[in-house]
Every structure is written in structure tokens, then in C-alpha cells.
């Protein structure tokens, strides 16, 4: 009996370390389809699928980020009774595109510090944003910047959308119940990993460039595992040719644009004059 009592703590420690090892031995994996979004002449947006595995029991946060760029804005203010531009500001330090997805509400997945590290919510962005020139009302500028980005479709910060296994994760109080039932419905794969998946519509307003898709496996509010893959957005075919011409041979492009526009105008006039003439003749 006493021997059993002595062994119990050791057994517990052993079980915990095995569990911890199992968690650590199954890193988060990620596969993005397509890995390159090709924008041809009739490109109308794309569906992006993110899938992979995370250690069993993890909550999943997927963050899609664009490069950090400096953006210029006119600041609107009140002068007497009228609202006019009162100055210029530059905003930097935050990504051009930021889409957040998660298996549960993001506040359930990440603690405050982790949220700040991952740019997981509006407060995190407000802490990181740099506004020049510095002004007293910087927080209201940051607020307006976020509103503008959301309106443009370049920022999406509501979370949700990630499915663990086959079960849909709701963003209300049922999320944890779903997680509990998921263990039964979707038993861990080899090495203690469970599959996750996310499908979302790529924003049409996102520019050509390289984006980063980062998957975080979270537990107890901390990021335990992360995996990153790039997603390229490129123009192909006719649009690529036009863009290249506009940048590399600007003078020729300008002249060709004017000639084509004039020919289009005179051409339409020629056709219209024939049509109207025929109508008049018919009358």
C-alpha cells in the first residue's frame, strides 16, 4: 500500500511528461491551396483553403498578413462650421492586409500578451500602429484606420471559420462543447494530432504581392506551435503584360493608350453615324 502511495506521484509525472511529449512531437502543419493565386483577365476572386494538423486539444488561430507599408492619408477636421482636410498623416507599422480566423473566439484562444504578439485584435493593432506626425488624437486616427480597412475588405478581425476535424466550431458558448465532442468524433491521428481546415474568399482588393499565412496551435492562452507558409498573388497573361508595359515602357504605354482611346472614340462615332443615318433613311 505504502509502495503504491510512493509510486503514484512518479506515475503522474511520467503520464504528464508523456502527454507533453506527445503534444510537442506533433507540430502544427499547414498546407494552402492554391499556393499561388493567379489573376488573369477575368479573375473574379479566389477561394483559399488552409488545412493541416495541430496537436490534439489545441485551439487554432490562422492569421493572413500582408507586408507592412506606409500609407498616406488626409486628416479631416473642423474649421469653423466646415469639415475640411486639415493636414496629412502617414500610417505605418501594421500590415496592408490582415485576416483573422480561429476555431473559437480569439479571446478564448490567446491571452492578452499573445494577442499583442500576433496582432490578434483591434487593441493589439492600436498598440503597434505608428502615426506621423504624432498627435494627441492618435487613438481616434487608429480607430478610423481600422474602420477604413474593414470597409475596404482588407481587414477582417471577427475570427471564426476554422473547423477542427469534421466538426463545425461555433463562435458562441457551444464552442467548448464542440471541442469536447470533437475528441470522440475525431480521434487524434498518429502522434496526437488532429486535422483542421479553413476556407475563405480572398479579398478582391488585395494587391499583387507575397502574403503570409501563419497557423498557431494554442493552449492555455499561449501559442504552443506555429507554422507559416507564403501565399503569392500574381498577375498572368494580358493583365501582366499591361502592367509590365505601364511600368517598363511608360512613354510608349502613354502614347498607345491615347491612340487606342482616340481610335475607340472615332470608331464608335463612325459606327453610330452609320446606324443613325440608316434610321433616318428608313424613316
Amino acid at each position: 500500500m505504502s509502495q503504491r502511495k510512493t509510486l503514484l506521484p512518479f506515475a503522474t509525472i511520467l503520464a504528464l511528461s508523456v502527454a507533453a511529449q506527445a503534444f510537442a512531437s506533433s507540430p502544427a502543419t499547414v498546407k494552402v491551396t492554391p499556393s499561388v493565386i493567379e489573376m488573369g483577365t477575368f479573375y473574379g476572386g479566389a477561394k483559399v483553403r488552409v488545412e493541416g494538423t495541430v496537436p490534439s486539444g489545441s485551439k487554432v488561430v490562422v492569421i493572413v498578413r500582408g507586408e507592412e507599408v506606409t500609407e498616406l492619408f488626409n486628416r479631416v477636421g473642423r474649421v469653423g462650421p466646415i469639415w475640411i482636410n486639415t493636414g496629412k498623416i502617414s500610417v505605418s507599422g501594421v500590415p496592408s492586409l490582415l485576416l483573422l480566423f480561429s476555431s473559437e473566439p480569439i479571446s478564448n484562444c490567446l491571452c492578452r500578451r499573445a494577442m499583442d504578439d500576433c496582432l490578434g485584435d483591434a487593441d493589439a493593432i492600436k498598440k503597434q500602429i505608428q502615426i506621423k506626425p504624432r498627435e494627441k488624437a492618435a487613438s481616434s486616427v487608429a480607430e478610423d484606420f481600422l474602420k477604413l480597412k474593414v470597409r475596404q475588405g482588407n481587414y477582417q478581425m471577427s475570427g471564426g471559420g476554422v473547423q477542427i476535424g469534421g466538426a463545425t466550431q461555433a463562435l458562441d458558448g457551444t464552442a467548448s462543447l464542440a471541442m469536447a465532442s470533437e475528441a470522440v468524433q475525431n480521434p487524434p491521428l498518429e502522434g496526437g494530432a488532429v486535422p483542421y481546415s479553413l476556407e475563405f474568399t480572398w479579398p478582391k482588393s488585395a494587391a499583387v504581392g507575397t502574403y503570409e499565412i501563419r497557423v498557431h496551435a494554442c493552449r492555455d492562452g499561449e501559442v504552443q506551435e506555429s507554422s507559416v507558409v507564403p501565399l503569392k498573388v500574381v498577375e498572368i497573361g494580358f493583365p501582366a503584360m499591361i502592367t509590365s508595359l505601364a511600368r517598363s515602357h511608360a512613354s510608349a504605354y502613354g502614347i498607345v493608350s491615347i491612340i487606342i482611346a482616340m481610335l475607340a472614340g472615332f470608331g464608335i462615332d463612325f459606327i453610330a453615324s452609320r446606324i443613325f443615318k440608316k434610321k433616318i433613311a428608313a424613316h
Binding site: 489573376m39 477575368f42 498616406l72 469639415w83 478582391k204 462615332d269
Partner: protein
């Protein structure tokens, strides 16, 4: 059907672009205005970056004004001689206006001056045109815009370099249209628009040109002005999106043809009342915008 705008880098419904072009082209053909003051904000609302919207708009105006100029030329409404003088005056005024803007920016008053210029100029022109045309229509009298009116100019008729402009049925010193158009060019540069809706009333009221000839001649000078702007935007800012311009032009060139022909069906004063109404509507919208707090207090900057 979506279509990718390569320079803008975004995808937009083809029908929306052609439709927007058709509406603005119709107004262009009807009133001889370039339509920039309407189309650029519409494109920005569709999500096109302001720099690309403004530059591509200039390119599509080349197409629209080509179509409109050709249609008006066939109808005998283009005074190429006077149009050339106006063009030279407009370009000179535009260059002066750009320097004025630079100075105002350096002292931080540019935006205030531009905004007030918009409301005052649009309000004055629109209000006067509306009132004058309405009075004429009520009286049932068509005021002839001919030699008789021009001859009343007194000392203006004694200015040097007098020249006949037979198509417009007026005689003026070359200095007069050059100066007037120079002033419109300055205003257009300050206000950041082509200036068609200032130019047409100026031709009708100050140069005493018939409304239809003013419309045709304005389109003629807009064609060359916008061709120059397109070239400069393409070489300096690389923001001309040819696909966007051609799709807009597909609608606007047809719209301009219809507009030019509808214009022939309307009395000169009726045309003036319609143009005045649009000018006043834009002015009222601007005035409301000035007096009400916007929901977002930052605006992405135009690159020109």
C-alpha cells in the same frame, strides 16, 4: 462578369464599369463636360485607388471626347479656330493654377481655398444659368448669342487682334478667349477637374457663343487637354489603367453619341437648365459634405 484591372490590381464587374461610363458619357455628349467631376468619385466608391481612378478617367475622357467631338463636328458644332485659342489659354491657365496650388499648399491653405472655390464657383454659375434660362423659357424668347450681343462689348471690341469666328458667329480679340480660358484653366487646376462645367457657361455667357457650338468646341479642347494629362500620368505616376479606361470608354463613347443627339432635340435654354441643375446638385452635395461630420476622419490621399 468580373474583369481584372491590371494597374489598379483589383477585379470589378464589367457591367458596372460600362454602365458608369455610359451615364457619364451621356452627360458629356449632352453638355460638353468631361465628366471627371462625376466619374472619379464613382470609381473611388467602387474601390479603385484614387490615383488610378483619376489617371484612367483622363484616358477614357480622350475616348469620349473623341467620339463626342466627331459627332458634334458632323453637326457643325465645333469651332476649331476658337477651340485652339481656348486650348492654349486653358493650358496656360492650368500651368499658372498648378503654381498657385503649390503656393497655397506651402502656406497650408490649399484645401480650404479649393473647397470654398468649388462651392462658390458652382453655386454662382449654376444659380445664374438656372435663373437666366428659366426666365428665357418663361418668356418664350430665345436670346440670340450673336454679333449683336458681342458688339455691345464696347471697349472689348476695341482690343487688338480682333478675329472673326464664323462658326460661333462672334468676333472677338484673340486676347479675350485666351484670358477667359486662362482663368478657367486656373480654376480647373485649383479645383482638380477638367473644367468643362465652368468652360461651357463661360463660352455661352462671356464669349456669347451658341450653346450647341460651345458644347462641341469644349469637347474639342477637352480631347487635347486630357490626352496631355493621360501622357503625363502614364509617364510620371504609372497610374493609367488602359483596361479600365477602355471599359469605361465602351460605355461612355456610346453614351456620348446618344447625348449629342438628344442635345439636338432640346432647346438651348433647356440644355442650360439641365446643366445648371447638375452643377447645383454637385454644389449642394459638396456643401452638405462640408457641413456634416464624416464617419471616418481620414481619407486615402490622391497621388496627384
Amino acid at each position: 462578369m468580373p474583369v481584372l484591372l491590371p494597374v489598379a490590381g483589383i477585379s470589378i464587374s464589367l457591367l458596372w464599369l460600362v454602365g458608369a461610363g455610359a451615364v457619364v458619357g451621356f452627360l458629356s455628349g449632352l453638355f460638353g463636360v468631361g465628366g471627371g467631376f462625376l466619374l472619379t468619385p464613382i470609381l473611388m466608391m467602387m474601390g479603385i485607388p484614387p490615383t488610378v481612378a483619376a489617371a484612367s478617367d483622363s484616358c477614357q475622357i480622350v475616348a469620349t471626347s473623341s467620339s463626342g467631338t466627331a459627332a458634334h463636328f458632323r453637326l457643325g458644332n465645333v469651332d476649331a479656330k476658337l477651340g485652339t485659342v481656348l486650348l492654349l489659354g486653358g493650358l496656360t491657365g492650368g500651368a499658372v493654377g498648378v503654381h498657385i496650388i503649390k503656393f497655397l499648399r506651402s502656406i497650408g491653405s490649399a484645401d480650404l481655398v479649393i473647397t470654398i472655390a468649388y462651392v462658390v464657383v458652382l453655386g454662382s454659375i449654376g444659380g445664374y444659368m438656372f435663373w437666366e434660362s428659366l426666365s428665357n423659357l418663361r418668356r418664350g424668347v430665345m436670346v440670340p448669342m450673336t454679333h449683336a450681343a458681342a458688339k455691345r462689348g464696347g471697349y472689348l471690341s476695341r482690343l487688338p487682334f480682333q478675329m472673326d469666328f464664323p462658326r460661333s458667329r462672334v468676333r472677338h480679340s484673340v486676347i479675350l478667349p485666351f484670358l477667359f480660358c486662362g482663368m478657367v484653366g486656373i480654376l480647373a487646376a485649383i479645383m482638380g477637374v477638367g473644367g468643362g462645367f465652368i468652360m461651357v457657361p463661360m463660352m455661352v455667357y462671356l464669349l456669347r457663343m451658341p450653346m450647341h457650338v460651345a458644347v462641341g468646341t469644349d469637347l474639342f479642347q477637352i480631347l487635347f487637354t486630357c490626352a496631355g494629362v493621360t501622357y503625363m500620368q502614364a509617364t510620371t505616376n504609372h497610374t493609367v489603367d488602359l483596361v479600365l479606361a477602355l471599359l469605361l470608354a465602351a460605355g461612355s463613347t456610346v453614351g456620348a453619341q446618344v447625348g449629342a443627339r438628344v442635345g439636338r432635340l432640346l432647346h438651348g435654354d433647356q440644355l442650360k437648365i439641365l446643366l445648371a441643375s447638375i452643377v447645383l446638385l454637385v454644389m449642394v452635395k459638396m456643401a452638405i459634405g462640408l457641413l456634416t461630420a464624416p464617419s471616418i476622419l481620414i481619407i486615402p490621399m490622391k497621388g496627384h
